[in-house]
Amino acid sequence: METVILKGRKDGFELMLADWADFDQVTADLEALLVQLNQDTSTERVEFSLESGNRLFDEAQAATITQIFDRFPRFTVRQLHSNVGPTAELKQRFLNQAIHLGGGIIRSGQRQAFNGDVLFSGTLHKDAVLEATGSVFVLGEIHGLVIAGSDGDASAVIVGDVSQATQIRIADSVDIIADRNVAGTSLSYVNDLHILEHGDAAQLKDLRPRLFRKMEEM
């Protein structure tokens, strides 16, 4: 079986590098194919898209492939695509999508930060910070600062009784709770006018349907 297959697509040429073959074999076959193409084709420049299937090339392997193409000035690589990604990156992506669980007491001066959404069961003391890049759900007393959408995600929400909190922040919106009465509310969100608003958790289904569906699926 051939380890390098040339395919013509409507957006250009694609070279499929077999993921089941030894890398040295693939590079040897690739080089041979490029030599052949260099002889057979006319003088125009050709761009290739490289597809590595279920193999992820490391930096050294990618550099080896680049070096092979450097020997053929008319041929360039448009992209090197793989079906798979680095474990750490994918794990992080998975973690960002999961709802994290936190709990206990966050004391004055302490900060707990999460990537993604967090369900926190416990007490947030004054001058303590609970922060998430996604939404924050709190079962317990909040006397400190809650930050949702800390990376700028204005669609994030805070669910819980924030009436005793010092402040809440969603993306770049800040609400100093001490200045107003939000007793009886259980949902804080940024509305279409980019104003931080307080309402009832039952509104979540209408206001953030995607988040609501995600919770239902859990």
């Binding site: 007491i105 004391r107 004055s108 001066g109 302490q110 007490t123 003391h125 004054k126 001058d127």
Partner: protein, 264 residues
């Protein structure tokens, strides 16, 4: 092997040194061998509270830097036979003159000779606090019923919990004014204990005699009938494992005649 306890609070002026001195004295009154370490480098006053200032020759910095042996720097309180000692802090040294490992070394040297090693921490959460807590098996967190003091105590408890000491931190609520708790103008004992989420070791009422005795270089715990003294004595008994109920906080109500003659 002795138990080392750091007395700390975060906020200044809540009575850490007074608490250290009184708990240490109360333990000595119970027949325990106690040594107290003043770790407030540059602002020492544990020796003043105990009336031992005149007897200082060497201090903890001298011990840490090897200028003096540990036993040379310990000051014996002669009122308690061979039971109560103080290792004073330096008055004219930088607070970084002593490092956490120096304190651990000193505490370990003292463990065989003493039942309790009490480390009087300075206010704040910087070097002095780190020194004091490094050598401790457990912590006594002192707070007053003020919101700022409770908030600082909360911060301290968080830092202590990160250290994972063998003995969990316990709380002393100092300078309680019963009438303010009764009429709801200050946080009450349950409120503070619940908020901080650590075990309550004891309460001490605010009493003029605490200041008066300190000014004389004595500890109030020597006066058995004083309510503050009873608070400290109860704390010492609880540290020794006794089950002592919490003293009732009662405001002394003036009698009929007292009220009558106080009227304008």
């Amino acid at each position: 092997m002795g138990t080392s306890l750091v007395v700390t609070s975060g906020k200044g002026g809540v009575g850490k040194t007074t608490t250290s001195a009184n708990i240490g004295t109360a333990l000595a009154l119970q027949g325990k061998r106690v040594v107290m370490l003043d770790l407030d480098i540059g602002l020492r006053n544990l020796d003043v509270v105990l009336g031992l200032s005149n007897r200082i020759i060497y201090d903890i910095v001298d011990v840490a830097t090897g200028r003096a042996k540990l036993h040379q720097a310990l000051i014996k309180d002669k009122r308690f036979d061979d039971l109560l000692y103080v290792l004073p802090a330096a008055q004219n040294a930088d607070k970084d003159s002593v490092m956490p490992e120096d304190v651990v070394e000193i505490v370990n040297q003292l463990r065989d000779d003493f039942d309790f090693i009490i480390l009087d921490s300075p206010a704040g959460i910087e070097q002095g606090f780190r020194n004091a807590s490094a050598g401790a098996d457990g912590a006594i967190v002192v707070t007053t019923p003020e919101v700022s003091s409770v908030s600082d105590a909360d911060r301290i408890v968080g830092l202590l919990e990160q250290q994972e000491m063998p003995i969990a931190p316990r709380l002393v609520i100092n300078r309680i004014r019963p009438h303010m708790m009764t009429d709801g103008r200050s946080m009450d004992v349950d409120e503070i204990t619940k908020h901080l989420g650590i075990g309550l070791l004891g309460i001490v009422v605010d009493d003029d005699e605490v200041i008066a005795s300190t000014n004389k270089g004595e500890t109030v715990v020597m006066e058995p009938d004083n309510p503050a003294s009873q608070g400290y004595r109860n704390i010492a008994r609880r540290l020794l494992g006794e089950s002592v109920p919490l003293m009732a906080i009662e405001e002394k109500k003036p009698g009929f005649w007292a009220r009558l003659f106080r009227r304008n």
